[in-house]
Every structure is written in structure tokens, then in C-alpha cells.
């Protein structure tokens, strides 16, 4: 993959926020890579390691630990459904099942599942910290509150965007 023109400059701007230790920039650089390319590839692990003067394993061990990083592409539309207690009490499991049914994705647990057409990736995740408006979901970066109303299920699926 080819880096966008300003990628290195953006990476260096991030590294400068951590004058005491460039290693601190690992997590933000992984975010930058994933936001740019959709997932963290082996190339990404090696590039970040080289930029920070670290062995690639120091980068990879974070990719495999933190739930938000992924090592493979996902669908165009990423739907995260909160499964933790308050959302569960408010019907998160039914919401998740409905989204899977509507998109054809087959899932029943943590981890991303993608619809056969590659359009949607649905993921059960832990508490999204909006328990008062449960059940909640995230579409990309956007929080959807009371996500199980008919209108909001459509919003999750991107109708009306």
C-alpha cells in the first residue's frame, strides 16, 4: 500500500506529543494507520516499528491485545452493538439479531461478522458508555441512541444517509 502524501508528516506530528518516549506514539500511530487503510497490515506493523525504532513485535503485541484494532479489512459500514448489561436489559441481543438478519451477517458473539455482500460488518462490543439511552450502537464514529426503534435500525443500516 502506498502512503498518502502527508502521512509521514502526520505521524511525526503525533510522535512530537511524546517528548519523553516515542514508544508512547504506538497506539495513536496504529489508530492513524487503521483510519487510513481500514485495518492494520503487516506493512503497517513494520512501518510503525521502523518509525519508532522498535521491533515489530512491540507493535504487533498491541494490535492483538486491543479490541479496536483489526488485521483484516471489514465491510464498508461498521456497526458496533453494545452487549453489556444495561443495553442487554434494553434488548441489545434482539437488536443484534435483527441487524444480522437484515444484512445476512451470521454472528453470535464478540468479534466482527461481515455480510455476504461485504457491505456491513456487525460487531458485539462491550459497554459504549451511554447506558441511559440503551440499547446503543455505533455506526463508524457515530453513536446511535435507543438503537432498536424502527427508525434507528434503519439509521444503523444507513438508510437515509
Amino acid at each position: 500500500m502506498k502512503l498518502p502524501a502527508d502521512f509521514t508528516a502526520r505521524a511525526d506530528e503525533i510522535i512530537a506529543r511524546y517528548p519523553a518516549s516515542a514508544r508512547s506514539a504506538t497506539l495513536p500511530l496504529l489508530h492513524l494507520w487503521q483510519e487510513t487503510f481500514g485495518f492494520v497490515s503487516g506493512q503497517g506493523v513494520e512501518w510503525i516499528g521502523a518509525r519508532l525504532g522498535l521491533e515489530p513485535i512491540r507493535i504487533l503485541e498491541l494490535v492483538t491485545f486491543y479490541p479496536m484494532f483489526r488485521q483484516a479489512p471489514i465491510g464498508r459500514r461498521h456497526i458496533r452493538v453494545c452487549r453489556t448489561l444495561s443495553c442487554a436489559l434494553a434488548g441489545a441481543r434482539d437488536l443484534y439479531a435483527e441487524l444480522c438478519r437484515r444484512t445476512g451477517a451470521a454472528g453470535d458473539a464478540h468479534g466482527p461478522v461481515t455480510s455476504p455482500d461485504g457491505e456491513y460488518t456487525i460487531e458485539f462490543v462491550e459497554c459504549l458508555a451511554s447506558c441511559g439511552t440503551a440499547p446503543v450502537a455505533m455506526i463508524g464514529d457515530r453513536l446511535i441512541e435507543s438503537a432498536n426503534t424502527p427508525d434507528n435500525i434503519e439509521a444503523c443500516l444507513g438508510k437515509g444517509d
Partner: protein, 449 residues
């Protein structure tokens, strides 16, 4: 009869026309407390915070002034301030409100705190699932720099502070302060053992570090604004100030509410503030301080100590709904005020399903460093899951309790307790349900698993 809130931290958050930009903040007296602080000495600020009695709003309820005072007096290393905005405790959603609606309040609290502890560089560790919050904070930091409330020489005082936003990536353990520090150093967030790694002495990059919660740091601004003694008049002795209570689950009006600490009881919060239990159902149980807090059962009586006006303490017996929502009363009741997240469950709820849901959370979030927690949290999840699927055994409730008892107190960080307490308390207080479910066939559709 609704009980009026006492909004200090969320005073402006939901006001019509109030926006997160610096113009709106300045129109409402923003950064006045920082000016006041810079005209005073760092020690004087620390003294005010001590006098305020402020206790941390993240979970442990530890004295904020005391935490600051642990920085060694003869220190020559850089001092770091970290704002813990990794709001992840299930049932808690207060920091999101502050960050989204009033970010400058947090920055002002951080600038004052940094001045008081002698920090020149601060980080806001915000959970990865708050991308919008991170952008709002970045924007607010740029505004504050442009207006000389942050930067090399704040308001010509000679004091300088930079704040950077650092995003997490979906791991609950990063809310534990030493795990957070490891994460901020670019490592896996395995918590450090205390002693020796008390952050105030050996924190970020082995330098003295103060880690404070978002709501705690906002309180610092108000303490400086009104004075520590005046602040201490809010709430109750040893439980001062206001508290944001986040209510979710089976109430008619879930949401966030701010009261003086201890000003409302559990019953008042549920019935008068939140409109009562949904659908006319009966209250069965509450989890009072985020999902780690031990569950409390309706119908039980609790021995609570109450501090009288003359300073003496009397022991009284209270039902669940009469317990005041303050740190000490909830501790007396055998649980904790924790992060202020209150999850309400009504009589239709299946406690085995609820615990199975919680156990899945902790099994997913254990960092894996300590064997009792890594293995135990997984086993607790597996046992409650098999009880739901009709493959339970009569001995499972005892086995659950045994596993939990072998985690608590045997791990590096408090996650051990956080994952053991739900199982210990659910099994103990709803033993009949667990016994019945252990040998029952599966229900057709688990509702809350």
C-alpha cells in the same frame, strides 16, 4: 414530588444555547478560577483541595488532596498529570456528558491541577470509543492555547502547560491507573504492582504522576472558585460535593442526574427522580456503582452508620430504598458508590442471566496478567453460560462462589475484586435462583445474555 437537582459540574451542560466552544464558556465565567489559581501559590491550591474533602469520582473514592500530596517533596523529575477519561465501567456515562458538552471545564480543572502539582505536560487518556469526544477536546485545547489558557506562558504567569489527547483502543483495563500508564507508554496495559509503583512516585516514565478522573478534575475548578471550606459544605461530612448519578436499567426515566452527595436515597432516586420502576413492576435489585459493585437486594435490611450533627456516629437499620447515595453508606451496605453508575433491575429479571452478562464482560476484559483473574473470570463466564443453556450442575452455585473467592485479593490490580464481587454477591443474595437454574432446562431465549 420531584427532588431538585444540585448541578455544579453539569450546571450549563444542557442549558439552551450553551455550546462546547470557548466563547460560550467565557461568557459563563470560564477560566476565572484559573486566573484566581495562578494568582495564588500551588501549595495554597493543594490546601484548598484538601480542605474540600474531595474524593475521586472514578471508582475508588480516594481523597484527591491526599493523592496529590504523595508526590515526593524533594522530587527533581518531571511531574505528569493524566486525566482518566477511559470511561468504561458498565452503567457509567457521565464523563461523556462533560467532554461533549463542557470540555473547557475539564481543561480548566486540569490547568489548575497541573499548576498545583507542578506539571508542565498532561495527557487526557480518552477511551477509543469516544472519537467525537476526542475531536471536541482537540478543538477545545486549540482554542484554549490561542487564548493563552494553555501553552508556554499561561496568562503571562510564567506557568506553562501542554495537554495532549491520547486515545485508547477498547480495553477496559486501561481505566485502572497503572494499566493506563503502561498503555500511555505504548505497551500492553498490564497493571503494575503497588508497592512500589504508586503513580505519585513511579508513574508515567517512572516519574511522579497524578491520575484523576474527568469529574474529579472538574470539581477542582469549582473548589478553587468557591473555596475548599465552602465546597465542603456541599454533601455530607467525608462525602462532600456533588455527584453525577447515572441511572440505567428498569426505570421510567433513565439518565444522568447531579445531586449533593448523599442528598437522595436509592428510593428517592428511583421513584421521585427517575419516575419509578418501568411498567409498574417491582424493584428487585440495584447495582449501585458500576457493574463491579456488589448487587443490593430489595427487601433486605442494611446496617448503616450515620454521622450526627454533633460528630458522633450512630448505627441505624435501613431498607434498600432508604440508603443515602454516598460513599460511606454504600460501603456500609456492603457495596460501593464506585463510578456513580446505578443499574436498576425489576422483578421480571433473571439474576442468572444478568450475572452471565456481567461475567462475559469481565472474561473479555481481563488483561490476562494474573492467573486467578485470567482463568477465574473465564470459568465464571463458562459456568453461568452453561447454567443458562440447561447444562448446569447442582454444584455450580458453590463452584461459582469458590472461583470468585479465589480471585479476590489474589491479583495485582483491583480488576480481581471487580470481577469477583458480582459473582460473590449475586450467588449469595439470589441463591435460590441460582440453585433452581443450576439443574433447570434451558429457557428458549435468554433475554440478557
Amino acid at each position: 414530588m420531584p427532588i431538585p437537582e444540585r448541578r455544579l459540574i453539569l450546571r450549563h451542560a444542557d442549558e439552551p444555547g450553551y455550546s462546547p466552544d470557548i466563547g460560550s464558556y467565557l461568557k459563563h465565567g470560564g477560566y476565572d478560577a484559573l486566573r484566581k489559581a495562578l494568582a495564588s501559590s500551588p501549595d495554597a491550591i493543594a490546601t484548598e483541595v484538601k480542605a474540600s474533602g474531595l474524593r475521586g469520582r472514578g471508582g475508588a473514592g480516594f481523597s484527591c488532596g491526599l493523592k496529590w500530596s504523595f508526590i515526593p517533596k524533594n522530587n527533581t523529575k518531571p511531574v505528569y498529570l493524566i486525566c482518566n477519561a477511559d470511561e468504561s465501567e458498565p452503567g457509567t456515562f457521565k464523563d461523556r456528558q462533560i467532554i461533549h458538552k463542557d470540555p473547557h471545564q475539564l481543561l480548566e480543572g486540569m490547568a489548575i491541577t497541573a499548576y498545583a502539582i507542578g506539571s508542565r505536560l498532561a495527557y487526557i487518556y480518552i477511551r477509543g470509543e469516544f472519537p467525537e469526544g476526542a475531536r471536541i477536546l482537540e478543538r477545545a485545547i486549540a482554542e484554549a492555547r490561542a487564548a493563552s489558557f494553555l501553552g508556554k506562558d499561561i496568562l503571562g504567569s510564567g506557568f506553562g502547560l501542554d495537554i495532549h489527547v491520547h486515545r485508547g483502543a477498547g480495553a477496559y483495563i486501561c481505566g485502572e491507573e497503572t494499566g493506563l500508564i503502561e498503555s500511555l507508554e505504548g505497551k500492553r496495559p498490564y497493571p503494575r504492582i503497588k508497592p512500589p509503583y504508586f503513580p505519585a512516585v513511579l508513574g508515567l516514565y517512572m516519574c511522579p504522576t497524578v491520575v484523576n478522573n474527568v469529574e474529579t478534575l472538574c470539581n477542582v475548578k469549582h473548589i478553587v472558585g468557591m473555596g475548599g471550606a465552602e465546597y465542603a459544605r456541599l454533601g455530607r461530612p467525608n462525602n462532600t460535593g456533588t455527584r453525577i448519578l447515572c441511572v440505567s436499567g428498569d426505570v421510567r426515566r433513565p439518565g444522568y442526574y447531579e445531586f449533593e452527595v448523599g442528598a437522595v436515597t436509592i428510593g428517592q432516586l428511583i421513584h421521585d427522580v427517575c419516575g419509578g420502576v418501568r411498567d409498574g413492576n417491582r424493584l428487585k435489585a440495584i447495582i449501585p456503582g458500576g457493574s463491579s459493585a456488589k448487587v443490593l437486594r430489595a427487601g433486605d435490611t442494611f446496617a448503616i452508620r450515620r454521622r450526627k450533627a454533633d460528630g458522633t456516629v450512630e448505627a441505624i437499620s435501613l431498607g434498600l430504598e432508604d440508603i443515602p447515595l454516598d460513599f460511606d453508606s454504600l460501603a456500609d451496605a456492603g457495596s460501593m458508590a464506585g463510578s456513580g453508575g446505578i443499574i436498576v433491575m425489576d422483578h421480571t429479571r433473571d439474576m442468572v442471566e444478568a450475572l452471565a452478562n456481567i461475567n462475559e464482560f469481565y472474561a473479555h476484559e481481563s488483561c490476562g496478567q494474573c492467573t486467578p483473574c485470567r482463568e477465574g473470570s473465564l470459568w465464571m463466564k463458562k459456568i453461568t453460560a452453561r447454567m443458562l443453556s440447561g447444562r448446569g450442575r447442582a454444584s455450580d452455585p458453590d463452584l461459582l462462589a469458590s472461583v470468585a473467592n479465589n480471585i479476590a485479593g489474589r491479583t495485582i490490580c483491583a480488576f480481581g475484586e471487580a470481577c469477583a464481587w458480582p459473582t460473590q454477591s449475586f450467588v449469595e443474595k439470589f441463591r435460590d435462583e441460582f440453585d433452581a437454574r443450576a439443574t433447570a432446562p434451558a429457557k428458549e431465549v435468554p433475554r440478557a445474555a
